[in-house]
Symmetry: C2
Subunit: 171 residues, 2 copies
């Protein structure tokens, strides 16, 4: 065990309600760096989210505002500063995710091809699963080449609901 550690990045988090259950919002140095659902795979330990604060503290109000508009079907493109921490490859994948239009879907292979690595579809799946900011970075818009849901950190059922909602199903 190393005895010196990295305590320089100031993290804080808040928890808000949503149609998909409680969402944990994490901010690093005042910029949104995480959005996690309950029971989500690869969700970091709660201790790593820093101090819990009220959702009224910056930068959370603006995040909550846009999320509410999205869930109301009135917002189709988030406009928020993000702090995405990961490997170069992961960041390149996440950068592509935000280019997938609302209501549309890509396959893992398509996304891999856009990166110039047509064979990296499997690696794309992995990086997708590590997306730290669910919903806002729309990893749910990536599905199997033959239309299968194949997987979702927050559970495939949530993925189905998100896609159906974006497709216009309002039941």
């Amino acid at each position: 065990m190393r005895s010196t550690m990295n305590v320089n990045t100031a993290k804080r988090h808040a928890v808000v309600e949503s149609p998909y259950g409680p969402l944990t919002l994490v901010a690093t140095d005042g910029v949104l760096s995480g959005l996690y659902m309950t029971g989500q795979r690869h969700r970091p330990a709660d201790e790593s989210f820093g101090e819990r604060v009220a959702a009224e503290e910056a930068p959370f109000p603006e995040v909550v505002r846009q999320l509410a508009a999205y869930f109301a079907g009135e917002l189709t493109a988030f406009d928020l500063p993000l702090r995405l921490e990961g490997t170069d490859f992961q960041r390149s994948v996440w950068d592509q995710l935000v280019r997938i239009p609302y209501g549309d879907t890509w396959s893992y292979g398509e996304l891999a091809a856009r990166l110039g690595k047509p064979n990296a579809s499997r690696a794309v799946g992995l990086a997708n699963g590590k997306n730290p900011v669910g919903i806002i970075v729309p990893c749910h818009r990536v599905i199997g080449a033959s239309g299968g849901m194949t997987g979702y950190g927050g559970g495939v059922d949530r993925k189905v609901r998100l896609l159906a909602f974006e497709a216009g199903d309002r039941d």
Copy 2:
């Protein structure tokens, strides 16, 4: 490769002359964290030493002063703040090193015994070799149980000279 890295610890270094050749002094956050000789084993890459500054900048003058006194035979115990970064075990070993009196020597096994791990003598040798602050943290005062020099990051010849000097040989 990770794309976010640790740039929080401000490192700087200076190079000074000595009877044992040039010494590279490294400071982390204004505290001495390294002293390396030329050709030393396990010496980190020079890039990791940060910007090179004049030996007149803090905290180096005090370090140089005490080193000069040591090489003149007038100082037998350094009194400097140190920043020793390593594993728990390594730090426990280095903590013992500074307790070896000037002119004295311990065996690797003796040092291991002081840690309550009488069988860890070999691991002590390893940790000894990783000592980041040569001379001031006197890893040269540890020798084989049967008196052999067995090894030294800066070369066994330097170890022999250091020990002879501390024993009072002034030729």
